[in-house]
């Protein structure tokens, strides 16, 4: 393995692979999608209502995949349950299981069930065969869809969303804390890390729901609600500016402070991480979307062009955020803790932690979403009626 300079002999092999890049990326999409959903529910941004249910299902699809990269990465995956049974209370990582379960069970599943309960009950009555059985199971024995019951659903759903917002922050802030609290690694060790992770999560989650909404509308031959996508794009821009501001603050702080690790980090930015950090993350994945979305806010841009711009910006944003995760996880392992040398990460195509598995884990949430959308159609009721 090519090494420049000196590395401690045990450091030459990278410990956290591309799967650990996938993990915060996927978790970020969960948190971001949920926060977008909460815009409508809690903050009454009615323009984004067409994406509310889709955002919830997207969050669930990615959440179901989130633990898989961790599980695949473990040296002894058969012992993973120990993290739940005998968690070490001083370990940030030990909290993963509890934060994850809380978010899955108490927030996402409950909110989705309450949101779709009326349809589930109606479908359990109108469908036949296996479908009927499936929907009957999904009603969980609660088939009361009177006006009063639905009002209660709505109120409880509102409370859950309210709890869900700090939970989403907790879920992804916690992922940032995993890295930010490693004092041995100056590339990671920063109190800003959880905050940067939260905002980058919001950026990626908003972008993925924007793309999914536009793609599904096209696939269903429905017109795109421009008021909705314009509003989402606006929120994407605002969140992006905060996220970029925080990341630049972190970078400027490191450059100005120039501590003992600076020489190493500076070297990496100019060499090993130049493409993934400067080109992909900062230029293409951040500046281009911010400038494009900003220009749309300032100038009158025709609808057709806006749609294309949103699609391109969404894709670039997703690539940029993936690059950011890559730069954090892989970048943090490319230099020696002696600050005297550098190693190289070469990812295999086919191995337990290889590119194919990583790609599969990135595609899997979309396949789960396709199934969920079939079971619980998230499209607006008026649209469903017109389709009938």
């Amino acid at each position: 393995m090519p090494v420049d300079g000196f590395m401690y002999p045990n450091e030459i092999e990278l410990q956290w692979s591309v799967l650990i890049v996938v993990y915060p990326f996927v978790t970020g999409l969960v948190a971001g999608a949920f926060i977008l959903a909460s815009l409508e529910r809690i903050f009454h941004v009615t323009a984004v209502k067409p994406t509310y249910r889709l955002a919830l299902l997207t969050a669930l699809s990615f959440l179901l995949v989130a633990p898989l990269p961790l599980q695949l990465h473990l040296g002894r995956p058969e012992r993973s349950l120990e993290m739940y049974l005998t968690p070490h209370t001083s370990s940030a990582m030990a909290m993963f299981g509890f934060v994850y379960l809380w978010y899955l069970m108490a927030v996402i599943l409950l909110e989705i069930w309450l949101e779709f309960r009326q349809e589930i009950v109606l479908l359990s009555q109108s469908c036949t065969g296996a479908k009927r059985l499936l929907y009957r199971v999904l009603t969980l024995g609660s088939s009361n869809i009177s006006e009063g019951a639905l009002r209660v659903d709505d109120k409880v759903g509102w409370v859950i969303t309210l709890i869900g917002i700090p939970s989403a922050f907790l879920l992804h802030g916690y992922v940032g804390f995993i890295f930010g609290s490693v004092k041995a690694n100056p590339w990671w060790s920063s109190p800003l890390m959880p905050v940067v992770f939260i905002f980058s999560a919001m950026v990626s989650g908003i972008a993925v729901v924007l793309l999914l909404y536009m793609a599904t509308a096209r696939m269903r031959h429905q017109s795109i609600d421009m008021r909705c996508v314009d509003t989402i794009a606006q929120y994407l821009l605002y969140t992006f500016i905060i996220d970029f501001g925080l990341e630049m603050l972190d970078l400027i702080h490191r450059i100005y402070e120039a501590d003992e690790s600076f020489r190493s980090l500076d070297f990496m930015m100019h060499t090993k991480l130049f493409f993934s950090q400067v080109v992909l993350q900062i230029a293409l994945g951040t500046l281009v979307p911010i400038l494009t979305l900003g220009a749309i806010q300032m100038f009158h841009v025709p609808e057709k062009l806006r749609k294309i711009a949103y699609a391109v910006c969404g894709c670039l944003t997703i690539i940029g955020i993936f690059a950011m995760r890559w730069n954090v996880v892989i970048g943090g392992q490319l230099f020696s803790k002696s600050f005297l040398g550098y190693t190289t990460y070469k990812v295999d195509l086919i191995s337990r932690e290889g590119e194919l598995i990583a790609a599969g884990l990135l595609v899997l949430p979309f396949m789960i979403l396709a199934v969920l959308v079939k079971i619980l159609p998230p499209w607006p009721k008026s649209e469903a009626a017109s389709a009938d």
């Binding site: 000196f6 590395m7 401690y8 002999p9 045990n10 450091e11 092999e13 410990q15 956290w16 961790l70 990465h73 473990l74 040296g75 002894r76 995956p77 012992r79 993973s80 120990e82 993290m83 005998t86 968690p87 070490h88 001083s90 370990s91 940030a92 990582m93 030990a94 993963f96 995993i178 609290s181 490693v182 004092k183 041995a184 690694n185 003992e260 020489r263 392992q333 020696s336 803790k337 002696s338 600050f339 005297l340």
Partner: protein, 242 residues
């Protein structure tokens, strides 16, 4: 008198207790009392000749897999005033000693490295299941029957002392030859060091020569700014050492 009812309660409890005893009983000498010791290590830079005996001894004693190191030796060359950019090498961790240096002049010295058995060890803090643990006598150990292989501890160690065992798939590191020191022996590396550059130190033993040494010599730990409570004490450690 033990009734059937009591027996039903007692038997599973006894089985659990026995399992605990079997799992938790350390391999110790009959008279070894863990609360009476507090282990550390003295490493004398002036005495290390870079022979690699310690690395070989450790590798043999502990079955360390090829290419991984519980201990290793680094060779430093500091040409002049540039303390921050020393020339360092450690070919195969120094297991076969060192080839002649390509540098002339300047400061040249060897630095043996190993787990620092920190009091506030970051590796122990981050382990999600507590498989990395502090023993009551001040040694940081890994329970390989419990480790998940998540590698968070490897990331958290500032000294690069840990690795993932390639076949066991669990974290591994210097155990301070716990199986030896609890029997009254010294570590394999100390025993095989021809110059006495490594000395096992019992900080709770008032008769241990370490106390006199620490009182009268210039001693430093690695990366003191990280406040890990390292117990690997280096005599005459140069400021260029990382």
């Amino acid at each position: 008198m033990i009734t059937r009812r009591k027996l039903i309660v007692l038997l599973p409890a006894a089985a659990l207790a026995w399992k605990y005893v079997l799992a938790g009983t350390p391999e110790t000498a009959p008279n070894y009392n863990r609360s009476e010791h507090w282990w550390g290590m003295l490493l004398d830079i002036d005495k290390c000749i870079g022979c690699g005996n310690c690395v070989r001894a450790c590798s043999t004693e502990n079955n360390v897999p090829d290419g991984y190191f519980r201990t290793w030796v680094e060779r430093y060359h500091v040409a002049g005033w540039e303390q921050e950019t020393p020339q360092v090498d450690s070919p195969s961790g120094g297991i076969k000693g060192f080839p002649p240096s390509r540098f002339e002049g300047g400061k040249n010295f060897f630095v043996p490295k190993m787990c620092n058995h920190c009091v506030d060890s970051p590796c122990t803090q981050v382990c999600p299941v507590g498989a990395t643990l502090h023993t009551p006598d001040g040694v940081v150990l890994v329970d390989e029957t419990y480790c998940l292989g998540c590698r968070y501890c490897i990331q958290a160690c500032p000294y690069g002392c840990r690795f993932l065992h390639p076949t066991k798939h669990t974290a591994e590191k210097c155990s301070l030859c716990y199986h030896r020191i609890t029997k009254g022996l010294t570590t394999a590396c100390c025993e095989n060091c021809p110059t006495g550059a490594r000395q096992l130190a019992d900080l709770k033993n008032p008769d241990d020569p370490i106390h006199e040494f620490l009182r009268t010599h210039s001693v430093q730990v690695l990366k003191p700014h990280l406040a890990t409570g390292a117990k690997a004490y280096y005599h005459d450690l140069d400021g260029s050492v990382r």
